[in-house]
């Protein structure tokens, strides 16, 4: 494994100081915003810097679905699998994404451009089926529109 630069992590820590147990989750969120995932070396470093046991940080990282311990795609595609999207064909959308990118839920494209996830409900049921790419919403998604949506992200 290549060495990870700890500098940005220290900067986040300094920004948030003082970090105690209660702020462990926001800390991991900021770290993930910085690195795109939670590198093992960084977690170990944070543990020694803050005194929060590494086992606890790893516990949080594996409990919460938002955290990744492995490198992730540059963009995250989230397909809603809530009831409304389900009945209005998210499976078809997911197949279309699989055709387009060749990845299933939890997978990342080889060029690290996209990672695909499914989420419980993004609360935009009136526009189901819904796909999110990073923080952008796409409603009433049609299998034919998938390629067009993906082409907007490099």
């Amino acid at each position: 494994m290549t060495a990870v630069d700890l500098g940005p992590a220290r900067a986040v820590l300094e920004d948030m100081a003082p970090v105690d147990h209660g702020l462990a989750i926001p800390l991991l969120q900021n770290i993930q915003d910085t690195y795109g995932y939670l590198p093992r070396e960084v977690l170990l470093d944070l543990s020694s810097e803050t005194g929060i046991p590494a086992s606890h940080l790893f516990g949080l990282a594996t409990f919460y679905a938002q955290f990744y311990l492995e490198e992730h795609g540059r963009h995250t595609v989230r397909v809603c699998r809530g009831t409304a999207c389900h009945v209005r064909g998210r499976k078809i959308i997911q197949e279309a994404i699989d055709d387009e990118l060749g990845i299933g839920p939890g997978e990342t494209t080889e060029d690290r451009r996209f990672s695909l996830e499914t989420v419980a409900c993004v609360g935009t049921c009136f526009l189901a089926p819904v796909v999110m790419v990073d923080h952008d919403y796409f409603g009433n998604v049609d299998p034919k529109k998938v390629g067009e949506i993906m082409s907007g992200y490099e």
Binding site: R78, T124, F126, A128, N140
Partner: protein, 469 residues
Amino acid sequence: MTDTMVESGPTISSPEDLASLRDQLAAAAEGRRRVLVCSTGCLAIGAREVEATFRSEVAAAGLIGEVDVVQTGCHGLCAMAPVAVIEPYDIVYGRNRVKYIPDVISQTVMNGDVIRRFCYGRDAAMAHVEDIPFYAHQTKRVLRNVGRVDPQRIDDAIQRGVYAAAGKALTTMAPDEIVEEVKASALRGRGGGGFPAGLKWEICKQNPGNDRYLICNADEGDPGAFMDRALLEGDPHSVLEGMIISAYAIEATKGFIYVRAEYPIAVRHIRKAIDEARERGLLGDNILGSGYSLDIEVREGAGAFVCGEETAMIASLEGERGMARPKPPYPAVRGYHGEPTIINNVETFANVPLIIDEGGGDHRLQGHQDLRPRRPGQQHRPRRGADGGDDPRHRLRRRRRNAPQSRVQSRPDGRPIRRMCARLPPGPPHRLRLAQGGRGDHGLRRHDRDGQHDVHRRHRPLLHRLLRR
């Protein structure tokens, strides 16, 4: 306007300051031409381009200063997205397309002439808010400002009367009086559990603790539910106001808003609202000169559905894995860091300013007393579906055909579902087969013969269990 910038404005240090600022703002806003573009749900379907084009076309026509283009929350008619409301005429346009915007500006915004193709049901007779059955049969209460204010401008909220109830509560009422009013209103928790809010607060206050905490549960994740999202995105200041009053009532020292990370717009709007309120002296030390101080912190969820459960949420706020624990003790007795803690839903808090404004007894009358005495107040809930496209070419379209319309609407609680769904756009007649409630305690169920919509229908856990420690 950028999202991060907080406009500076006069600091508000008393309810009188607030009232005079409100009068000033209202006078300035009188009869203004405004284009209110939904910039929340409709974003998924091109509202950003629509709004940007309105802005650039207004500039191109030399109308800056005469016409305001405003980003608002949800107008409710999501099936017609992207939706814009044009003031002062109150004309509702849906299905806005960028290329027609110059026409909309020259004809509708400047002259009030209706363009039929954008109207509800493509019917020019249903151009105005009051003519559309969907709106005419609603009574908007907690949603009253959503779609009418720029959620990222505190001045818009103040002009609509937000924070006035907080001023009244904090300067003229004792904390116990507020609890009594809320009890009198019979407000029940809007998150789905339906526990009487006033009673919960009273229990919290009976328990000794060094500190008390207030948590706003915005981890809305029930399938098909997006009323909390509509409120946080469209009128975050009313939620803050409700939290300030509630925190004062239970004498809390710190508040949290736990929002799910899947709601990035809600997170952004509520953060901005908190920054603005703090800047203006409506949050922080000595709120409105009352001597009461409160700070509110936003925490984002990390993708754990279970964290919507109150004890799991507290664990998450404490920096633990979000694991629920057995109750009792309830959080009102032992919550955040072992101290008495009140957790209420977004919509519950949004009801509190109304109760202070109207008095608990009057608020109670807004519910359907004759149907069930302990279920007053109003509930707003998403109703879902889509345009009845009849194109057999596509599997998706066929699936959509059965659901005639999508919308968020608001009616007093106790309204039969059949009547809420009765007013549909022109088209083939529809029969109501299934109602999916937007709350956890509904589930997917066939609607019963009389179509009664009752959120708190099921038997609730006995209250005395809470009283046992």
